[in-house]
Amino acid sequence: MASPVIQVHDLRKIYMVGEREAGVLAAVRSLVRRRTRAIRAVDGITFHVDAGEIVGFLGPNGAGKTTTLKMLAGLLHPTEGDARVLGFRPWERDREYLRRMTLVMGQRNQLIWDIPVVDSFELNRAIYNIPPEAYRQTVEELVALLELGPLLHKPVRNLSLGERMKCEIAASLLHRPRVLFLDEPTIGLDVTMQRRIRGFVAEYNRRTGATVLLTSHYMADVEALCRRVIVIHHGVLLFDGALEALVERFSPFKLITVELADLPARDLSAYGQVVRQDEGTVTLRVPKAITPEVTGRLLADLEVLDLTVQDPPIEEVIEQVFAQPEETTLATGNGELRPELL
């Protein structure tokens, strides 16, 4: 593809919220002059996504993920900046654009509660004006991929949460969108169902070449689906690059797990920070730079049965990223970070 499918340039969304102090007097005062405060939900982010990419959008609650997603889906006007998706400016809500993208929200339903799933599908067919032949084919395909066969003719209220989510996703894809915005698509589901939905998104992306932008609290989703992640925090882009690079950059530590012969083990805090210690197994957190040296000392000093060196789990890395105070979390562009963070 010549130009990226999603282009975001210096996008900003600033909300003005009324502020009120407690007390009757303050309430009366606010009638005359409302004090407002600017919430910078999204504060100037820039990125591109190429056709067929699956990009994970990470950030803690309130980081600006959903606001960004809503701007790209045409639901919110930005305060400043620009964005193009498939060449359209989303918030102009061009019918052609709406026909080519979809938004899935894990916590919200569009299916009609009291009637069978397939009838809600019919409704979307009418709204999107899908030709009968294409509709039949898409439904067949989705039913096969998501194993919807037995669910189609049940009323939505009789479905489990996971079954409902599968049907929600299918309903959102009937018009074969080229761009998918998935906001927490697996939230609240059990592990098996999460895995199935993940598998489906990957498969859909492979088959149709659709571009996917996904937010999730479950790192497993991100690890399984996204080679690339974009991290935002306090409305600012913190990192944009490969998932491995994120770990590499943000975690200056390695985890060394040693299994020792002589239990109870001696105090190992001289070698590094003890993260876990049970039976004969001890896990140490060690600065990356001195990992080889510490490993050597451990092997020399102790009777080691087994030793492994690992990157910390992705959740922990992310947690560390978000633990940074606001002023130090400044990004400088693609995959680049300010040195003091490292």
């Binding site: 006007h77 929200m105 919200r108 569009q110 009291d114 409704l123 009418a126 999107y128």
Partner: protein, 261 residues
Amino acid sequence: MHYLRLFLTYLKLGLLAELEYRANFWIQLVQTAMELALALGGLAVVFRHTGDLGGWRPAELLALLGVYFLIGGLIRTMVRPSMQKFMEDIRKGTLDFTLTKPADAQVLVSIQRFELWKITDVGVGIALLAIALGRLSDSVGPLQAAMFGLTLLSGGLIVYSVWLILATFSFWFVKVENILVIFMTMYEAARWPVTIYPPWLRWILTFLIPVAFATTVPAQAVTGRMDPTTLGIAAGMAGILLVVSRAFWLYGLRFYSGASA
């Protein structure tokens, strides 16, 4: 064409949903019967003591009652359920789904839900009208019928526009359902010809919460007391309110998506 098909699809879905709760049909029938008993009983008591009420003869009030049931039934079948769903969608955030659809959001919002069993009210309204017209047949010609159709359409559009305006307030306020209660309460007053009310109340029912156009005016058309001015005001009011409600809706929508922020 596209929107007509959408309308029919929603209608079908409404029927499907109602068929899930078949007992509701009988309950609705009881409620309609009770409503009818109350209305007819009221008329019966009044006409025990007088030959006409403010110039309205029994058959003419029956026609008014027919229009009252007809429009009320349409509100309860089509307008109210859709507007309630819309307000619920704003609260739950599911309005986003509607806004990401490639169709006019006002149209989608306005036809998205039907409570078809409430159609019993419409049926009763038509029956009452038929009986009344049978008795008034000497005074109803093609001209009256045409004016009746026009004023009924205007009344329906006025009622829809007012509901849309009231519902649009939920972009700013959370609890708007209560405003809708005001409308239904005032609509009850429209069961009687507004011409009998004192001027201040007539003014409220005509211009502030314009239920008069939905019941009294069409009934005037069918009982041969329509003058061109009233006809013009009804049609003009319908046109103005349609435009105003559309503009207000778009303004609310812009506020929702934060264009003004």
